[in-house]
């Protein structure tokens, strides 16, 4: 009985003692961690985006897709219907004129993302700098976001995975999609794997940059040549823009 009257006391005292030694916890349960000032994080002044010139994109080229798969360790299981894909190559044909276009379609990083609207747990989220991500720690794999996305940009991981890459954690039972190479952006690389590959092996059809900076290359090109959004009628204001469609 005497134990029941003061439950857990030694443990609490111990935690207090540990706090004094550590100088890290101000009180039991209250925990001070290095503030975010060490790393300022994503700024809402920036909005990252892509511009894809479909006039320069060859229908036979999949350099961006290959580079993306390599960058994020997307090894398929030979089942194209369900294997994860962050980028798809889509071929368009105008039935009247016969004109064809080929374009890579990835997460469009919408300003008003429907996937975020429908997510029941808050796992689908938009970072301050406009990158739309899945917080896989709280994703329950319901796939509402996959149904809500008009661009069919998201994939569900059906299989147990091994040997994931350190910068792209992936796991069975969660939804994933293009993260605009967020690890590269946070590292300050200023480019993505697909853009890098397109410039190296493809038709130099893709430009990555800050849509909010009027002096960035992407903004200058957008101002000069204009662009289109896929399904602009949804008014989602995607961060991925296309020329020539």
């Amino acid at each position: 009985m005497s134990n029941e009257s003061k439950p857990d006391l030694s443990r609490r005292q111990f935690l207090g003692g540990a706090a004094a030694v550590a100088g890290l916890a101000v009180a039991p349960g209250v925990f001070l961690v290095e503030s975010a000032s060490a790393a300022t994080g994503a700024s809402s002044k920036v909005r990252w985006g892509l511009l894809i010139d479909t006039n320069l994109c060859d229908s036979g080229c999949d350099a961006c897709v290959t580079a993306c798969n390599k960058e994020h360790g997307l090894n398929g299981h030979g089942r194209p219907a369900t294997d994860a894909q962050y980028i798809r190559k889509v071929d368009l044909k105008d039935r009247k004129t016969g004109a064809t276009r080929s374009l890579p379609v990835m997460c469009q990083h919408c300003e008003h993302p429907p996937c975020v609207d429908v997510c029941p747990t808050g796992a689908s989220m938009k970072r301050p700098d406009g990158i739309v991500l899945v917080d896989k720690h709280i994703c329950i794999g319901c796939r509402y976001c996959m149904m809500a996305c008009p661009y069919k940009a998201r994939s569900f991981v059906h299989e147990d995975l091994t040997d994931q890459l350190p910068h792209t954690p992936r796991g069975k039972g969660t939804v994933e999609s293009c993260n605009l190479c967020v690890h590269r952006i946070d590292r300050g690389d200023g480019t993505t794997a697909c853009v890098e590959a397109c410039n190296r092996d493809g038709g130099s059809a893709m430009v990555f940059g800050d849509l909010n900076d009027p002096n960035s290359e992407i903004s200058r090109r957008l101002a000069e040549f204009g662009s289109a959004a896929i399904r602009a009628d949804f008014k989602l204001n995607p961060g991925v823009r296309y020329r020539g469609i």
Partner: protein
């Protein structure tokens, strides 16, 4: 009725006796054989890391993923770079620093269903506190070292009481 009440009154005593017999059969439990880390110092003292590494990691995870505020100091990849050998495997928890202790303490929580469970030797990235490369070989820590750690923790608990 009398028999039932007799059993009722004796039940706690019987249970207690049974527990004592069970406890008497238990020997001393030896600590798991942990890997040594690369480098001489961790990001926090060992007492803090033992009890609170999960709080540091959870805070870091939310800051990094949701706000893009990444501190190299508390990143999970940083832990892996110093503590896990490139040849370790989830399949064999005794070869893996994190899983070794989790298995010993019956902690089922496993970051490595999704996160990389070992350092990438050619990533070119090493934690700031790691003076050696990711290739640096790891050895099992000596029993003395572990005993010293345990003694420090016990001393701390006694002091707090």
């Amino acid at each position: 009725m009398a028999a039932v009440s007799l059993v009722r009154s004796l039940l706690p005593a019987l249970l207690g006796a049974g527990l004592l017999v069970l406890l008497a059969g238990c020997g001393e439990v030896s600590a798991p054989r942990m890997m040594e880390a690369r480098g001489d110092t961790c990001v926090e003292p060992v007492e803090v890391m033992r009890r609170d590494h999960m709080k540091l990691l959870k805070h870091e995870r939310n800051q990094a993923l949701r706000l893009g505020a990444r501190t190299e100091r508390y990143s999970l990849n940083g832990c892996i770079e110093c503590h896990v050998s490139p040849t370790a495997s989830r399949e064999d928890p005794s070869s893996h620093f994190c899983l070794n202790c989790h298995a010993f303490n019956a902690v089922r929580f496993d970051c490595f269903q999704c996160h990389a469970d070992k350092p990438m030797p050619d990533s070119g990235r090493v934690h700031a506190l790691n003076p050696n490369g990711a290739q640096h070989a790891l050895t099992v820590a000596s029993g003395e070292e572990l005993a010293n750690d345990a003694q420090r923790l016990v001393a701390l608990e006694i002091k707090a009481q």
